[in-house]
């Protein structure tokens, strides 16, 4: 088990105006490790994608429900960000993770959420249960 240096837990109502709150809060918390501008941009982007997914897909854009964010900073400069919800869950996670897959809910979407999280962070894992919710865990090791 790696030693956790610091931890932040946050829960936000699933309203779209909280997308910027989420990425700003995570970014401010991670900033103590002095990441590069590019690393911080990558993390903000990945958080925004995950929180948007929860708001739009897990809770269907209803503006109700909570999005849970947990950020851990480890001694070796690795960070982990877990974003979870208690929404509808994903029936087929593998399919949902396919690049450009979108459910087509009438809004303009490009189906890049998971692709962006995977590409801009070092690792991504997705756990989901229909009717129970989804948890997305992302890790990134910051440069020394």
């Amino acid at each position: 088990m790696k030693r956790i240096e610091n931890e932040m837990k946050l829960r936000l109502v699933a309203k779209s105006e909280n997308e910027s709150v989420a990425r700003s809060a995570v970014s401010a918390f991670v900033a103590v490790l002095n990441p590069t501008v590019e690393e911080l941009g990558d993390i903000r982007l990945a958080v925004s994608e995950a929180v948007t997914n929860a708001i739009v897909h897990a809770y269907g854009g209803s503006g109700e429900g909570l999005v849970y964010i947990s950020v851990r900073l480890y001694a070796d400069r690795e960070i982990s960000v877990e974003i979870s919800d208690k929404g509808c869950g994903i029936e087929d996670v593998e399919r949902a993770r396919e690049p450009f897959f979108t459910t087509g809910d009438g809004e303009e979407r490009c189906g890049m959420g998971f692709l962006v999280m995977q590409s801009f962070m070092d690792s991504l894992s997705v756990r989901s249960k229909v009717g129970r919710g989804t948890a997305v865990l992302m890790r990134k090791k910051l440069t020394p």
Partner: protein
């Protein structure tokens, strides 16, 4: 008056300067304002200037793809300028630069 963008039109070019973070929360407002202007002016070029944009996620990619599709219907091309490095990487990932009517300026 829209605090999220500013619009100008001259010589067939509709220039839209985006002034806010481009995420899912803002995308609809931006889309509606841009499309209203595109239908009103019927430009040959829609220039989207991202110089003042401090953050963009894949909702921004969807916004650009949607305007590119509208451009195919209405007969305009889309020129993107002022993109920050992270946004450029996002666009490369999306493959948007390969679209016929989209040009990315350095």
């Amino acid at each position: 008056m829209n605090e999220n963008l500013s619009l100008s039109y001259e010589a067939d070019v509709l220039r839209v300067s985006l002034l806010c973070e481009v995420d899912h929360h803002k995308a609809r407002q931006l889309r509606e304002a841009i499309d209203r202007a595109a239908f009103a002016y019927r430009p040959r070029v829609l220039q989207l200037d991202f110089t003042a944009v401090r953050f963009m996620d894949s909702s921004g990619v969807a916004l650009i793809l949607g305007r590119s599709a509208l451009g195919e219907d209405l007969g305009f091309c889309v020129v993107l300028s002022g993109l920050a490095p992270t946004a450029r990487r996002l666009l490369r990932l999306s493959g948007i630069e390969g679209r016929r009517n989209v040009t990315v300026r350095p």
